[in-house]
Assembly symmetry: C2
Homo-oligomer: 478 residues x 2
Amino acid sequence: MEKDTKGITAEKDEFGEWFSQLMLKADLADYTAVSGAIVFKPRSYAIWEKIKAEVDARFKKAGIKNCYFPMFIPESVLAKEVEHIEGFAPEVAWVTHAGNKKLNERLAVRPTSETIMYESFSKWIRSWRDLPLRLNQWNNVVRWEFKHPVPFLRTREFLWNEGHTAFASEQEALGEENEIIGIYKEVCEKLLALPSLPGRKSEKEKFAGAVFSTSLEFVLPNGKAVQGPDFHHDGQNFAKAYNITFLNKNGEKEYVWQNTFAISTRMLGVMFAIHSDEKGLIIPPALSPEKVVVVPILFESKRKEIEEFVRKVEKHLPEERVVDWREHKPGFKFNEWELKGIPLRVEVGPKEVEQEQVVLVRRDTHERKIVNLSKLAKEVNRTLDDIQRNLFARAQKLVDHSLVEAESFADLERAIKEKKIALAPMCKNRECEDELKFKTSGAKVLNIPFEQPKNLSSKKCVICKSQADYLARVGKSY
Amino acid sequence: MEKDTKGITAEKDEFGEWFSQLMLKADLADYTAVSGAIVFKPRSYAIWEKIKAEVDARFKKAGIKNCYFPMFIPESVLAKEVEHIEGFAPEVAWVTHAGNKKLNERLAVRPTSETIMYESFSKWIRSWRDLPLRLNQWNNVVRWEFKHPVPFLRTREFLWNEGHTAFASEQEALGEENEIIGIYKEVCEKLLALPSLPGRKSEKEKFAGAVFSTSLEFVLPNGKAVQGPDFHHDGQNFAKAYNITFLNKNGEKEYVWQNTFAISTRMLGVMFAIHSDEKGLIIPPALSPEKVVVVPILFESKRKEIEEFVRKVEKHLPEERVVDWREHKPGFKFNEWELKGIPLRVEVGPKEVEQEQVVLVRRDTHERKIVNLSKLAKEVNRTLDDIQRNLFARAQKLVDHSLVEAESFADLERAIKEKKIALAPMCKNRECEDELKFKTSGAKVLNIPFEQPKNLSSKKCVICKSQADYLARVGKSY
């Protein structure tokens, strides 16, 4: 009669197997008949709702407004910006029929909405008074990747925000970068408890159609990097392709300056992967739909006393709590709630009733503590804060541990083999990036840290050995 | 230099033209290159966000959980429930290619998600302990209608909630109807200020695959009815098609009992159409992103005094306000804000500064009132409440005015000609519904009121003249 709540049977080292078991057993995702797409089950969707609410409140405060554009983009509209269409065409899902009727023109299911939004921007923007125009959408997009799908981390449909802004001057547009990256970074650090590696994308890896891209990169337990939220400065590339002009204060026609930015449900996968362990899910208390689970340890003779005491205990606990009254053995319940990642467990047995105390067990460290009822509320809050801090600190250690410096290609090769991220001198040459990928079977420039040594003159590109232009983060990536 | 903020140049009687001008000029929607799909501009999307938040909070309180399912549904999955696929197939948008590759199986862009969700339900539900399962999605759906599209009211892509629930018994499933219809009705009445006509759908008009459907119907100014939120009891129809079974407390296998329910962005169109007038948009204060606009009437000589006084005035106003400092004539500004539907206008000129007062003008009645600064906060709140109540009362009068009783087909015909909704005796015979539609060039049974006369024996079906089964609401509909 008991459900399958056996813990995860893979070590975290076998990342693929461990992660896929974690997703299914912690009730976060499920596969469907649609290849590469998953169900976001209520437990993961609730976390996405919280992330969304936090980002959205910050966007609104910054003056960015939400809207909604059609999900279908006619092929001719998608094709107007050349680099953009080249970047996305191989992954576009095409609608060709409606009912029994063949459409006159194929419709792309949006892989991103630049093209359809900018058609409207070119109608809406007339003068400098209409600028800045700062819009955002929370929606679903489709990128039909042919690589092996992984829940949250690589799915053909995912959820995200896409911010699209237009400014009267390059300087104003550039000024948005810190604001947006700051919002994403803060949400990742404070809520997801994840330290990130911010930096510029290389020429090869930047967004299709952008002048430059900035990303936050994260490191998974298997040593692979994942790109998180990003920000793209598009200059006037799209403005020229979609004819988005305005009359400036002198009555002269100019093209607008544009940015786009996004955070996606991929971050759920990053967060689940980094914090969790072999017993199951670990999630930061700030995002956990339930913060505390109370497990009464029922002895028939003491049942009434325990029930009464639990009701008293509940008064000292946050609203986001569950009490597990089911007829299962305590060990079974402990395992199940650990698997599901509830940050704190409160155990109440006859001894606790007698002494007006409870046993508090942390999900992250498994530390047990006896807490008197009178101090429970304070201790619970303090511990939840401490778990949040500890998860961030642990994740920071992982990042620190995985970063190594490389001076030569041999250093770099060793780092990649050891599943590390290398900080390596490189030149801007696109061919060096291609060669890097080829010689390492897939490693690439993740991004280029904003902080660079003052003097790079002694640094040589690890590929072509000519003068390096920067130190780049290099590694394998999702 | 001034933007086109001319009021609407059509009378409300020319509904189509009036409504389409209203949508564009009040900055609510725009057309795109995608036929039948619109942009939800920030001003309408913000209202949808509020409606969504209110409904969502009530769902969560009821124990319904949000989740997200893939938007693509393989043709074979969609086809498992026969009536369902027959109902939706003519309007399905089909994805046939990804990148350059033809897919092995066509994928439907969801017109609704029963089929893909119930595939998962059949995996997830094992025993009575897993029930009830009450899930909801907020997402986008596509129904490729070939009728003339109208912003919000009839668009090929729209946004909605879709609730999908499974229960162990028929009785429990039926018990959900009042709860859900109650939530939708309350939100429509209290927030959208719209009275509705609740009732059962006829056999012909019920949802494809349902045992019965319940709808809230609304009446537009052009006399046409629109179906608003609805609730469908599916009995065990989908459970049998998708094999959703559970072991009951006696260990016996049973099929679950299911419901589905939805509210969509169509309600934005209904609300805009019912409340607004020839001057432009009117929206209930409870949903208006901005509740008050302050228009300073600037005289250069008094500019400083007016600016100072406006800052004082602002302290007495709600946070959701705008102050219009632009260099336009007051009349221009009044028109623009009336067009955009801000519920209350505050005018401040030299005279007001002198006398420490303001002029308050209501959007709904155009009533002007002089209010002393010391009483402003209270008066603004009182007036906003009164506008909310007044809009509901006006809408109620429209409904009352449009409902007429019909005893015979002649009565019914006259009612339809006069663009009314008739309450007419009808029998359950599906052929009578077909004939009704044919003989009236398109009128249909909107729904069947829950409250019926105690004795129907004297009532004859207006079509076949045999014994009537009920009084039905009959009219033309979107």
